[in-house]
């Protein structure tokens, strides 16, 4: 089987492509070819040995769906793709829209619907949580600079100022809100989200839903080391039934189909979990899941091919991941190939 996977940008803000490939290749039943879909000729995953067997440049989502579709068709002619696993937030809407046309070509996907993608969007998540009785930091949307002066009084500082797709800043006063607001509207546009700041420790869960509401697997992790960009650079699997049950309930209520990452904060004050985000794809630390006994990426593969998958019930508590920086050395010829021919 020929599996195409995106997100080989294993940088300091890594995409999940490399750990997805590692997970799939680590499964004893896997035999096939991994095709890396890349957006840039310097994505580190291109130059890693034993990751993707062949790599192809594809156009950025901003280039438009038709251009992406044509490129996939051209690659499909050469590689006879069986499955595409997109793994980056910014490309998911495009791939979801192309799902039926890919299916017509004989290429499978295992993705949420547009409706399901939307309910977990940063500006909609609070409503979803409210409907289902899930704790979430209260938030409001700002759609113009004037709205900054109308932030309700019950929003106490510090506040979190978030962009609609990426980025978040902690603001300690209205001036800092204004600075963050201007930075993020310039980069990501409107609306801007003002969110209650909850003090506590961060916990994340990687999970896989089958689309009917059932959880195929879920592994909770506590971040042990966080970079200045807020990325977990080390983490440990933990045992917490409350967190696990909450995660399963979210997958059930959202009828989530695909991999996902749930981001929680455990309030120091109330000791309760607050849901911060539902990321609609596996996280960059997903290799921790098969390492702890739940090969969720391979299970997604099975689900995509219509196989019956038994839910995972266990995982090893105390499994640790520590991310590393590692300089890869390559020849200019390799770079030339990908830059000129768009494949390597």
């Amino acid at each position: 089987m020929n599996i195409a996977i995106t997100g080989l940008n294993a940088t300091d803000n890594p995409g999940p492509g490399v750990p997805l490939i590692r997970s799939i290749k680590a499964h004893p039943d896997f035999s096939g070819k991994i095709i890396g879909f890349i957006y840039d000729s310097l994505e580190p995953g291109i130059y890693m040995d034993d990751v993707a067997d062949i790599k192809y440049l594809i156009p950025y989502p901003s280039s438009g769906l038709e251009i992406l579709y044509e490129r996939i068709c051209a690659i499909h002619q050469k590689e006879k793709l069986d499955l595409i696993i997109p793994s980056l937030d910014s490309e998911l809407y495009g791939f979801v829209k192309l799902k039926d046309r890919l299916e017509d070509l004989g290429i499978k996907t295992f993705l949420p619907t547009l409706e399901h993608l939307n309910i977990r969007a940063k500006d909609k998540l609070f409503d979803f949580c409210k409907t289902h009785g899930i704790n979430a930091p209260k938030n409001i949307l700002l759609t113009s600079p004037n709205d900054i002066n109308n932030i309700p009084k019950d929003f106490e500082y510090p506040l979190v100022v978030k962009g609609i797709f990426y980025d978040a800043y902690i603001a300690n006063n209205i001036e800092e809100v204004k600075t963050a607001f201007n930075k993020m509207t310039a980069k990501w546009g409107y609306p801007i989200i003002i969110q209650e700041f909850i003090k506590g420790a961060e916990f994340n869960v990687v999970g896989l839903g089958d689309g009917t509401g059932a959880t195929i697997g879920a592994v909770p992790m506590k971040k042990l080391y966080i970079t200045d960009k807020g990325k977990g650079w080390a983490g440990i699997t933990i045992e917490d039934d409350k967190l696990l049950n909450l995660s399963k309930m979210i997958i059930e209520k959202s009828k989530w189909k695909s991999g996902l990452e749930l981001e929680f904060i455990k309030s120091e004050k109330s000791n309760e979990y607050y849901l911060l985000e539902i990321n609609p794809r596996f996280p960059a630390w997903v290799y921790l899941a098969p390492s702890a006994g739940q090969n969720l990426p391979y299970a997604l593969l099975d689900l995509a091919f219509g196989k019956q998958v038994e839910p995972f019930n266990n995982y090893t508590v105390g499994t640790i991941f520590v991310r590393a920086s590692w300089d890869l050395i390559t020849d200019i010829k390799a770079f030339e190939k990908i830059a000129v021919l768009g494949e390597i």
Binding site: A201, K222, L224, G235, I236, T237, I238, E239, D240, G318
Partner: protein
């Protein structure tokens, strides 16, 4: 008399390394800390622990009781100990 217990899921290794699986937190105990935790795991009460340490270490009762109470307060604070 206070009776303390170490939650069943708290893992204590021979080296004094403690892992709390519910939060992912880890701690390192020194020799005497490790010994006290082991005695708590064996369901010894505070008086028994105090007597055993007085027998084996050169310390006066008042200082020992103060140190043990401080240590137990720390354990409780980190959810490594519950009063039953």
């Amino acid at each position: 008399m206070n009776i303390f217990s170490i939650p069943a899921n708290v893992a204590v290794s021979d080296t004094g390394f403690v892992f709390l699986p519910t939060t992912g937190e880890t701690f390192t105990l020194n020799e005497i800390g490790k010994e006290i935790l082991r005695m708590l795991q064996q369901n010894k009460n505070l008086d028994e622990i105090t007597e055993i340490i007085l027998e084996n270490y050169d310390i006066d009762r008042m200082s020992l009781e103060k140190d043990i109470n401080d240590f137990l307060a720390q354990l409780k604070n980190y959810s490594l100990l519950v009063e039953v």
